[in-house]
Assembly symmetry: C2
Homo-oligomer: 312 residues x 2
């Protein structure tokens, strides 16, 4: 039996699709009549405190989110393996966001928008993509997809990750000892890291101060499409004000929704989107997790299982 436990999304719609895909395998939702002990899989998004109560026969927790940092903090999280959502459609959408914001900043968007407001015709020619280095922090599925899409655009692409990752044409840096070298050659810093104790607050003033200067008009740029916990918002505000950063694109925030009184709303070279960089698509989510359930029931091992020690 599969139990759905989803907040803030259309649970009924997911349940209908799962029931179709898995039939005759039973699919239930909270509020339905069922014996918790018969639940073998639970599909979760923002689970409530009592989400896992009575699930004595649980074989796996299936997470709608690609990031599991919040799930791992659930006080009643059972011992069962956690399967993350890894999906081509999700990667495509995330890369769409990353490429749009990298290219926008590379083309001096803040400057031209200010000029337009002032009706000023000032011919600044941005550097070619080949003269601009994009540094991606986090080389999981999402980071690798972004790198593969930025590369054919002509950008110099660099990566930074915990363990060595080799991608054709991407200059790879690994671990804390190569972090400064990675930053010193980066004009646009993209965060696609998992949120772990090591990466919490990594987008801070010290990091910003180590980025390369002089290539992009106004200064280096950060783009965060990972988690609000990666960023120190007060330090971003200060860095945008004093020119340590030329611009920022933020899709995630320390508190979401972003509070009405946040100074970030009103900074012209800070580009805010409301955590929409990538959404898990229902059709591909059902396809992915149905495949996992069917395979597991047939005796195949689970894939994309979270390493709890590592945190992702």
């Amino acid at each position: 039996m599969l139990l759905l436990h989803l907040s803030d999304v259309d649970e009924a719609s997911w349940a209908k699709r799962f029931a179709e895909a898995l039939a005759p395998y039973p699919v239930v939702r909270r509020g339905d009549q069922f014996d918790p002990a018969e639940v073998r899989y639970i599909f979760v998004w923002k689970p409530k405190p009592d989400a896992f109560e009575g699930l004595t026969g649980l074989r796996a927790v299936l997470s709608l989110g690609a990031g599991v940092d919040a799930l791992l903090k659930h006080p009643k999280l059972p011992d069962a393996p956690i399967v993350r959502f890894v999906d081509e459609d999700l990667s495509q959408r995330m890369s769409d966001y990353v490429v749009a914001h990298v290219t926008m900043h590379h083309r001096g968007f803040s400057k031209f928008q200010a000029d337009q407001k002032a009706r000023r015709w000032d011919q600044y020619y941005p550097p070619a993509a080949s003269e601009t280095a994009v540094g991606i922090m986090g080389m999981g599925v999402l980071g690798q997809d972004a790198a593969r899409r930025l590369k054919p655009l002509g950008f110099a692409v660099r990566s930074w990750s915990r363990t060595p990752k080799s991608i054709d044409g991407v200059e790879a840096f690994t671990g804390p000892e190569q972090f400064d070298e990675f930053l010193s050659g980066t004009d646009v810093l993209v965060c696609l890291l998992p949120l772990t104790p090591e990466t919490t607050g990594i987008l801070n003033r010290e990091t910003f101060g180590k980025l390369r200067r002089g290539r992009l008009l106004g200064g280096p740029v950060i783009i965060n499409a990972a988690r609000g916990g990666h960023q120190r918002e007060a330090e971003i505000v200060a860095a945008l004000a004093d020119g340590t950063l030329g611009a920022a694109s933020l899709d995630v925030f320390e508190t979401e929704p972003l509070p009405q009184d946040s100074p970030l709303w009103n900074i012209p070279n800070c580009f805010i989107t409301p955590h929409v960089a990538a959404i898990s698509n229902e059709a591909s989510g059902v396809r992915y997790f149905s495949g996992i359930i069917k395979g597991h029931e047939a005796g195949e091992p689970l894939i994309n299982v979270v390493d709890r020690g590592r945190g992702y």
Copy 2:
């Protein structure tokens, strides 16, 4: 002898580089002492009315611009072949502009910027790139380069050109008879056409009304990085106001610089840049034209010669 005749750019700097690249071949500028009859090549940008006077030994006119529409209207243009600038660096810069503006609009930039201004947290999820069709008008070197860079991003790419052009993965449409079909499946319309009598004013209300609706929030989008003569600005203003168009990115204008009283400046979903999409880079320009002069002097045929009947 090579004569330089460049307006609005640093002619002295070009002359120095050409002299170095061609030495001992003579390179002169207006104002220098030389016999006009000895000039075999003239390198021009915005030539004055008397630019070609006395050049009785001219073998070729070399144009710094990729577009030659203005040059072809020069009343004293000699009969010598005209060589256009075709250059990888120029193509890269033009594609940088095109990709930045396509992706910006695809990601609903106008909506999110309006929301930010209003401190509104409204989660709209843009379609995936694969669900969005970019239609490129003009499949010369620039159009082909843009198509090749948009394709790996996942966009559905369509092309429209005067003569059939086949590019892997790009749906090709040809001639006036397939124009409507091309438009009807296009969400983002990119103009990279040469300016000819046939293409003058092609970005008009009738064209806009034939674009696909319903895919991009707010309506279809146009991007013009070719010539101001392609667009009817009064009709763009009206189409942006009544929702026929969702947004526009314009790098070129009917009159440049864009007049202070143009209504375009003040339209929030119209994104103005001051004819900076792509600039001819000195280093690559000198490399390209020096190669052409040396080759031609050694008896090789000229390349990228303008067809005056066709207009490009």
